[in-house]
């Protein structure tokens, strides 16, 4: 450690708080103290003490031989860490997070926050409005501790607090390791390893299947594997389960039902591109899934179907931006989740500087099925010349929200009618977010457009992670655009000017009764053109759509 200067430093000298140091040492135990473990260790402190004091930051910095500024900046970047000053009163032990993103706002999140805020013992409990927690089909959602309360109201939240139901539990009904294996799971993986397939063959198969990255960018999976297999070794794999786009919950759905399918897919990727370690980055909001993955990965490793690589499960800490591929890599390295400038691309310089295959969890979910059923099986699905299946996370004003696996190219109207049992009683289809908050807003008049990658660009939108939020005549596109922009303002990492300042200025302009449309348009253009990553580039989509497609709301 270094010495604090000024009078305080002159008097106190350079002496570590031994008590804090012991506490931190105890928490870290025998785990590695490498930089990439920083966020994991911060979690341990936060979990145990419900906040992270400066004393603990200093102790952790000493223990990990890191500058305290680096520990501090990392800790304060993530919203799930409560960093407190020496004399500051720590936050209450119980935190109730109430989602205020799109669907939850539509279903009364504001009212819930107000009610809870006025009724709750603020000394022991705090209410935090938070962005999407990935349960939009059951809006509004509150999370007590880590325990998610779906379709929450004041009573259900208070009841959970009173019953001390503060932790999420294992998903109730999922296919565990043994059942998965019993039903032929990991056979395809062992076939690969035992030489039944060549990696070239599998990569070709994926290319033919037209499987694309399902995290949002839609990069062809087969091509990505091919690029990686040509990079220098060592190569790394990073699986993105930082599902945070408002309206998206498909990854959680697959995790809670059939988790080994994506693990097998990942291990096949590992074999195909001859990678080293696998890192799985799971958003912190999915606490139950974390329990489950810890358990299942342990089972897998205890009784492996073949020789396994090192699989590291890493825990996010409340930062939407970490779903951005390069920000996630930074976060896995134990740093602030600030996206990297590209080039170089992650496939060239990724995790720890090594070429990295970064994939959305759902993309890996389909690997086994595509190998077993053939490329045509996947690509034969689709409407309007589109190919493949899409897992739509549908929420909003429909009768049956949830994850609907439907053909690529299906239209919004078809999706509502065929999969969602129509609109809610008394609601008329008005518009929809085709790809979460960042995908923009389309009006009902464009409800027959094919939903897929590349089809909505001409309308200033994109499908992204296929998170559909359906608006009705009871909703306001203008209001939803503002909700989105506030979300981006909160979740901007703060690195680049167009996004950090741009989102804040946009919110100010959009909070006004009259929008200065030309200035907003000028601002939007610069944000789209000049932001470092997709967050800032996509942030203006909803506002531009609101102006373009819902002119009536501006009269």
């Amino acid at each position: 450690m270094k010495r604090t200067r000024g009078k305080k430093g002159r008097i106190l000298g350079r002496v570590m708080d031994q008590h804090a140091l012991l506490q931190v040492q105890e928490l870290i135990g025998k785990q590695p103290k490498t930089r990439d473990m920083l966020i994991e260790h911060l979690h341990k402190i936060q979990d145990k003490y419900h906040h992270i004091s400066n004393r603990h930051i200093l102790a952790l910095a000493k223990e990990m031989n890191l500058p305290m500024a680096e520990v501090y900046e990392t800790a304060t970047f993530y919203h799930h860490f409560d960093v407190t000053k020496e004399d500051e009163i720590p936050p209450p032990a119980i935190t109730v997070r109430v989602c205020e993103s799109l669907s939850c706002e539509m279903f009364g999140a504001k009212k819930l926050i107000e009610e809870l805020g006025s009724d709750i013992d603020k000394k022991h409990i705090r209410i935090q409005p938070v962005p999407c927690v990935g349960r939009c089909a059951a809006a509004p959602v509150a999370v007590v501790g880590t325990n998610p309360i779906e379709k929450a109201d004041k009573a259900s939240v208070i009841s959970a607090i009173e019953k001390k139901e503060l932790s999420d539990s294992l998903p109730s009904d999922y296919i565990d390791y043994n059942s998965y294996k019993d039903k032929g799971g990991y056979k395809t993986l062992t076939d690969c390893i035992n030489g039944k397939y060549q990696s070239e063959e599998i990569i070709k198969l994926l290319e033919d299947s037209n499987l694309r990255g399902l995290g949002g960018a839609g990069f062809p999976t087969g091509r990505k594997w091919r690029i990686l297999s040509e990079q220098k070794v060592p190569r790394m794999i990073a699986i993105n389960i930082d599902e945070g786009e408002p309206g998206t919950f498909k990854d959680r759905y697959y995790l809670e039902t059939d988790p080994h399918r994506f693990i097998e897919g990942t291990l096949i990727a590992h074999w195909a591109i001859q990678a080293e370690d696998i890192y799985i980055y799971l958003r912190d909001e999915y606490a139950g899934c974390r329990l489950m993955l810890e358990k299942e990965l342990a089972e897998l490793q205890n009784n492996p179907p073949c020789k396994l690589p090192k699989i590291h499960l890493r825990r996010g800490a409340g930062a939407y931006i970490c779903g951005e591929e390069s920000a996630m890599i930074e976060s896995i390295e134990g740093k602030r989740g600030m996206p990297r400038l590209r080039p170089p691309y992650l496939a060239q310089v990724g995790l720890f500087g090594h070429p990295t295959l970064e994939q959305n969890m759902e993309s890996m979910h389909w690997i086994r099925d595509i190998i077993e059923n053939g490329a045509d099986w996947f690509s034969s699905n689709g409407r309007r010349d589109r190919k493949g299946l899409r897992s739509f996370s549908v929420s909003g004003r429909v009768k049956k929200p949830g994850v609907h696996v439907a053909p690529a190219g299906i239209s919004m109207r078809e999706l509502i009618d065929e999969y969602c049992e129509g609109m809610l009683e008394g609601h008329e289809f008005y518009g929809y977010f085709p790809g979460g908050a960042s995908g923009g807003i389309l009006p009902a008049s464009l409800g027959d457009e094919p939903l897929d990658f590349d089809t909505l660009q001409k309308h200033g939108c994109f499908i992204g992670s296929a998170a559909i939020v359906v608006l009705s005549d009871k909703d306001s596109a203008k209001q939803m655009a503002l909700n989105s922009m506030r979300f981006f303002e909160d979740e901007s990492c703060g690195q680049c000017t167009p996004c950090r300042v741009g989102t804040a200025k946009a919110v100010k302009l959009m909070e006004k009764e009259e929008w200065d449309k030309s200035l907003l348009e000028e601002l939007s253009t610069a944000m789209i053109d000049a932001s470092i990553c997709g967050l800032g580039q996509a942030a203006p989509n909803p506002l531009r759509c609101a102006i373009k497609y819902f002119p009536k709301e501006f009269k």
């Binding site: 000024g6 008097i11 350079r14 500058p67 200025k505 253009t525």
Partner: protein, 934 residues
């Protein structure tokens, strides 16, 4: 940006920029290529020399075929690429970024903290005056907690240049970029006020800030300087180039210049410690001791100096000074006179001082603080490899695969050199730190060997033992380039790691590991400091280091060699020009008749054929009344010598003492006449840094009052002692130095003026200079071979015992320079470290019933002092350390004047003391201070 000739050899990439064909060289970015072609693209987060971060997005350009714009500061062009920086789309984003940033500036306008800030420049360029966005509202409060730096984050644009400055350039790791999104904020450590953080005030962040959010305190950033004078830093041996910004004959602020040794970096002393020159305590009139005022060993309080001294005219004072010297020379003879020069002076001043003593006084009794510094290192180097200078420069050495830093805390004492070593560790070099105290340098080390004080020879012999045991020595190099290896083999047999480990306090495995690392590295360098040299076995310590390098062949190549880090800014130069009793300029022995004849003919006089007395020997001779007259230019032996009670008593016994200085130093109290001299920025001169770089210091201001330039004063005395000198300016003296020093003969003044910094050896005009010496294992010894000199372990002169059970070490600290003459008169440095402190292990402290900050009394067989304690877990038990800069608790009252038999350097780094609890009222002496009007 001027065309960089280095780049021109690199492969060129042709691309189109705004329709014009342009070439980029090497790894140039679009922005760099544009700059070189005079195409202006706005940019804020980009700073030349720093890693481009691409976060501000002001430099966006459109690249044909790309979906979004690209940051030109980060993007390298590819062949045939078509780039537009001035079309509507690119300019729209550039302007919008500037408008967004400007909208959150105070009053949405020009920086209120800095003239012509970079943001203001671009805003003006694009005519953005009235941003259309609302201000963000909430504003961070000013943080004025630091005496040197004002933090006004309301002007911060989050460009993170300061973060890169702190983390990647200087590697001080204080500034962070915390929180997120619109709350993202620059913080110091854990969001402390800057003045209470671990900030070392290097000011790199201030120099990096494009808006004035970080500025020198007291709004000097708003002063338009009359002139900017390019010069050199007056403090340590690193030799940073800097600029003085002057208004009304006052230096307002200092900025780092892109010098070969500092790459625009400075430390707190160089950047903020310049204001001592404007302190009201400066001597401005010659002073003569009042008649009948007796000399005693007690210090004279500067506030009472007029009780002891009266003002005199220059004429009277100079006559008086020379007359006293002449009388002694006449009565007692030349050997009753002596002169002390100073390693803070220029080469020209030092040259004239030694010439004055040798030709005017007629004796070789001339020395300076090198004796207290690297005398033993130089002795060992001359004896073994024939040259006392460093083999490789810091800039080159910091690219070594293995860097050993032993007996040195460069982060405190050579801060800018330390930054390059820290940069090396970031690049993957292994840094091995060997010292008794765990300083901040150890935080960056791959191996930290915290040895017990005084056990260096044991440890180093054990490393050699391992190398020989494991057959890791370089037999070819030993065979072809060295002599006497067998003696080493024989000698180190007794020093197995297992045997020395318990005495050194280092596990044998670590010793082995480090020995292997060093021996097998492709490139390896050893840096060392006073922890090696200031021992009775200082020469032995250095011999061991040299032997390590010779037996492994780790010398004479790029990034591979030996580098004793020079302390003073010109200790290399003052030694080079002969301010040493046993040698003339260029280390030519006074006892060599041919050499002597050469100098007799150069100087037109006969010279004393006998070796003169060294610093400590002089004090003994003065004490014994063998020396009666002493001329001191700039030195402060009443603070810097060991066993001060003895030294001060000696000084009081002089019949005639002439002191030439800028302040009323402790030594002045013993003077008969005091001559007010010039401070560094008040004169021209050349200074030779630790790297053998001869660098030009230029006059920025005139001396205060009647104070005179030293060159003039020395000549006035010389001419009153029968010499006939007519040097008009430093340049004239330098011409003569070239004649006296073959190794610098090729350096012309004009070249210095043009290049600022020139490396010697440089024998013939036009030579490039030799950054690396001993190339190909050829040493400047009689037979071209390096010599092994085995060293046996001897114990320090005064070991702890029952009466005096604790080891006492003196050292320095970042903010203060040596005896404090300069730094304790600097407002900023004095505010950061206002008084003496004793560094002690917290457990030891508790054992005396004390807590950090309490008073501790330190007593040795020679003296007693009291000071506040500072607990420090980096300090090992049973050892205390103290900076020697503070006269109210002068560490040298405690130290032992036992000498190294070869280097004649005293053992500052080890003596035995006892400690007891003190109290403020009875034990502590507080400093009296003149109130400084601010």
């Amino acid at each position: 940006m001027a065309a960089n000739p280095k780049l021109m050899n690199e492969k060129a990439v042709s691309f189109k920029l705004n329709g014009q064909d342009v070439e980029a060289y090497g790894d140039e970015t679009i922005l760099q290529a544009a700059k070189r072609n005079d195409v202006e693209i706005p940019h804020l987060c980009y700073k030349e020399g720093y890693r481009p971060d691409g976060n501000c997005r002001a430099c966006m350009v459109e690249i044909d075929g790309e979906r979004v714009l690209a940051p030109s500061c980060c993007r390298q062009p590819t062949e045939g690429m078509s780039v537009s920086s001035d079309n509507e789309r690119a300019q729209h984003s550039q302007k919008m970024v500037l408008e967004l940033l400007l909208s959150d500036m105070p009053q949405q306008g020009k920086s209120p903290y800095k003239l012509n800030s970079e943001l203001d420049y671009w805003a003006e360029k694009f005519d953005i005056y009235n941003p259309r966005f609302e201000h963000r509202g909430e504003q961070p409060q000013p943080d004025l907690s630091h005496p040197a730096i004002a933090v006004n984050l309301d002007a911060c644009i989050q460009c993170t240049r300061c973060v890169r400055a702190c983390r990647e350039e200087q590697v001080n790791d204080v500034i962070g970029f915390a929180f997120r999104g619109k709350h993202a904020e620059i913080v110091f450590d854990m969001a402390e006020p800057m003045g209470e953080s671990t900030c070392v005030a290097c000011g790199e962040c201030v120099q990096a800030c494009p808006t004035g959010a970080l500025m020198p305190a007291k709004n000097v950033g708003l002063i338009e300087p009359d002139k900017v004078v390019d010069s050199v830093c007056p403090y340590c041996g690193v030799g940073c180039l800097l600029s003085f910004n002057v208004k009304n004959n006052h230096i307002q602020y200092v900025e780092g210049r892109d010098g070969p040794a500092n790459k625009s970096r400075l430390c707190v002393k160089g950047r903020y410690g310049f204001d001592y020159i404007h302190h009201p305590d400066r001597l401005t009139k010659p002073l003569i001791r009042r008649e009948g005022v007796e000399k005693t060993a007690a210090l004279v309080d500067p506030l009472e100096m007029h009780k002891y001294f009266r003002e005199a005219s220059w004429e009277e004072a100079l006559d008086f000074a020379a007359e006293g010297l002449n009388q002694i020379k006449g009565k007692q003879g030349s050997q009753a006179l002596a002169g002390l020069g100073c390693a803070k002076g220029s080469n020209e001043e030092a040259y004239l001082v030694q010439k004055l003593v040798r030709t005017g006084f007629g004796t070789n009794n001339v020395d300076h603080c090198t004796r207290l510094c690297h005398a033993s290192s130089v002795a060992a180097l001359l004896e073994t490899i024939g040259s006392g200078a460093v083999s490789n420069q810091v800039s080159d050495g910091s690219f070594a695969e293995v860097i050993i830093v032993i007996g040195s805390r460069p982060n405190d004492n050579h801060p800018v050199a330390a930054t390059f070593m820290k940069n090396a560790t970031e690049r993957g070099s292994k840094l091995i730190v060997i010292e008794p105290y765990g300083s901040d340098m150890a935080l960056h080390a791959s191996h930290f060997m915290q040895l017990r004080p005084g056990t260096d020879v044991l440890l180093l012999n054990a490393m050699m033992n391992v190398i020989i045991e494991e057959n890791l020595q370089n037999d070819k190099f030993i065979e072809e380039h060295t002599d006497g290896f067998e003696a080493i083999v024989e000698n180190v047999k007794d020093y197995s790691p297992e045997k020395v480990a318990p005495i050194c306090g280092i596990p044998p495995e670590t010793i082995k590991e480090v020995a292997r690392l060093y021996a097998t590295a492709e490139t390896a360098i050893i840096f060392w400091g006073m922890g090696i040299s200031q021992h009775v076995h200082g020469t032995d310590n250095a011999r061991c280091l040299i032997a390590l390098a010779l037996m492994t062949g780790q010398i004479g190549r790029t990034s591979t060699g030996l580098h004793p880090l020079r302390g003073q800014n010109n200790v290399q130069g003052t030694s080079d020009v002969g301010l040493i009793p046993m040698v003339y300029p260029d280390y030519q022995p006074v006892t060599d008749e041919n050499v002597r004849k050469k100098f007799e003919s150069l100087w037109g006089t006969t010279l004393d054929p006998n070796v003169g007395k060294t610093v400590v020997e002089m004090m003994h001779a003065i004490y014994d009344k063998d020396i009666n007259g002493l001329y001191i230019m700039g030195e402060n032996p009443a603070m810097s010598d060991p066993n001060l009670n003895h030294a001060r008593e000696a000084l009081s016994r002089l019949d005639h003492l002439v002191v030439q200085d800028i302040f009323f130093t402790e030594t002045c109290g013993y003077a008969d006449v005091i001559l007010p001299a010039s401070a560094f920025p008040e004169k021209d001169g050349t200074f030779t840094n630790t790297d053998r770089r001869v660098q030009l210091g230029r006059q920025a201001i005139t001396p205060p009052g009647d104070a005179k330039q030293d060159l003039w004063i020395i000549q006035q005395i010389a001419n009153r002692m029968g010499l006939d000198w007519h040097y008009e300016q430093a340049k004239d003296v330098f011409q003569e130095i070239r004649l006296a020093l073959p190794s610098m003969a090729g350096i012309t003044w004009e070249r210095l003026e043009e290049e600022n910094s020139v490396t010697y050896p440089l024998r013939n005009v036009g030579d490039p200079g030799e950054p690396i010496i001993f190339k190909d294992g050829v040493f400047p010894t009689d037979d071209g071979r390096g010599r092994f000199v085995p060293a046996e372990y001897i114990e320090p002169a005064e070991l702890p015992d029952d009466d005096y059970p604790v080891v006492f070490i003196t050292g320095r600290q970042l903010e203060h320079w040596h005896t404090g003459t300069m730094t304790r008169h600097s407002r900023v440095l004095d505010a950061i470290e206002p008084g003496p402190c004793i560094i002690i292990n917290p457990e030891d402290l508790t054992s005396y019933g004390l807590k950090s900050g309490d008073i501790l009394v330190v007593e040795s067989r020679r003296g007693v002092i009291a000071a506040t304690t500072r607990a420090d877990e980096g300090m090992q038990k049973g050892v205390v350390m103290m900076p020697f800069s503070f006269n109210e608790a002068a560490g040298n009252l405690i130290t032992n004047d036992a000498l190294d038999p070869v280097g004649k350097i005293p053992e500052f780094k080890f003596c035995a003391v006892k400690l007891r609890k003190g109290n403020r009222a009875n034990d502590q002496i507080s400093r009296k201070k003149i109130k400084v009007d601010e």
